[in-house]
Amino acid sequence: MNTEKIKKDFPILGRKIGLNDLVYLDNTATTQKPLQVIDAIKDFYMEHNANVHRGIHTLSEEASEMYDNARKTVTRFINAIYPEEIIFTRGTTESLNMAAFSWGVPNLKRGDKILLTNFEHHSNLIPWQIVAKNTGAELKFIKTGSEGTVDMSEFKSALTPDVKLVCVAHASNVLGTILDIKEISKMAHAVDALVCVDGAQAVPHMPVNVQSLGCDFYSFSGHKMLGPMGIGVLYVKKSVMGQMVPSQFGGGMIKEVSLTDASWADAPDKFEAGTPDAAGAVGLAAAIDYLSVIGMDKVREHEIELGKYTIEKLSAIGGIRIIGPLDPEKRTGLVSFYSEKVHAHDIASVLNSSGIAVRSGHHCAMPLHKELGLPATVRASYYIYNDFSDIDKLAEGIKKALKMLA
């Protein structure tokens, strides 16, 4: 991976934090944007801006075509069969909420079980808590093993006939653990349960093929993969879409409206009430084009190399512990760690004083942190523009923090 060449496409990576060069290692939270994405959004607003699917004037036609093309780009990128299987949302959170309220509430009932892991991001936990409260269904959880991995035999035994839905992260945003979604889908479908995947930490980092994974719902966000904030995707397998009802209502999603009733447009329009973020969709498509030129298999290789290097470097520092699998092949592009003596916030503050951006806290996974007995961890997450020298600076910064505060 030619990180030097890639870095030049990202204007923000040239900025200083105080007197230091920025070392951006908070990519799990959001990635930076290349000029190609910024320019695509700018071009939309400067040349083509209009509401989509509403007017017959030239600008509206152009905007609509760009929006439709963005949907086709997403379709190809995750190898969905039909563009109609792609619903644009504001991000993974809205996608998972839509799965919960458009499929979960109308299809689940008392006695049904929803199977999750204990490391889900709050956005793939709380919507299902509310679904459970509204329908009488119950949540049950698979726990991670000591290394933050999940034993497939545990899934198998948890998949009792009353499980109607499995909701799991493709990759954990804290542990980094990658789950074998293909195997989980196979086992879940054997008991007629559907599979809903939070792919926020997978799609940016590895090739994702929804047909081969076999899952029924798949969610991800544009801003974690070089695209803009405010755009995301809910993929729904066509055969499952018919079981869904709209959960947001208004313009753009109807066929016919009277004063007392309304009928819905076809999918995906009926799930996209209101004016969509067309510029966001165009920006996401530009991000996908950018990643496709590099190749997602190359992105994955690069992150495995960086992961291996990060784990080696951090393991050599006395006083900190890495959580999650130590095999870089088993994790996505992040490494979380903690010190028994120095609080995560303090490590992050000292790192920031050297220009290094990392995340500290519970990373929207409070139940997992409670289980680990840690109030907070530090998370360093890398992407296509990071290289070994960034990890060297990280390691030096951590040593500095421990020296100052431990």
Binding site: G361, A376, L405
Partner: protein
Amino acid sequence: MDDIYQEELMDIYKNPARRGSLDDANASTSQSNPMCGDDISVQLKIENGVVKDAKFHGSACMVSIVSSEILLDYLVGKKLEEVKGISKEKLLEMLNLNLTTSRIGCATLALGAVQKAVAAYEGK
């Protein structure tokens, strides 16, 4: 930001005199920071409307530890009316640290706990 890790504060952080617990506390509560999951418990001993002693414990970062120490030190000897009047702004002024927005939540964690403890005490 480096100035929050200055030497004087580092001494407080490494040996906070008010960290611990009180056997004879009559007002206590805890407050957590939803941003990071940190949790600070505060114990107060109140007599005749005056704070006689105060301690804190819990898992927290340097900013919360230092601010807990400075706040509790300030409280001892104060009337409850004065304690209730301590605003976030007043505490941040006392700390005199150049804090970023995200760390203000850490700095004011103990104040939230103190005010909850006093409210609960007065509600008895």
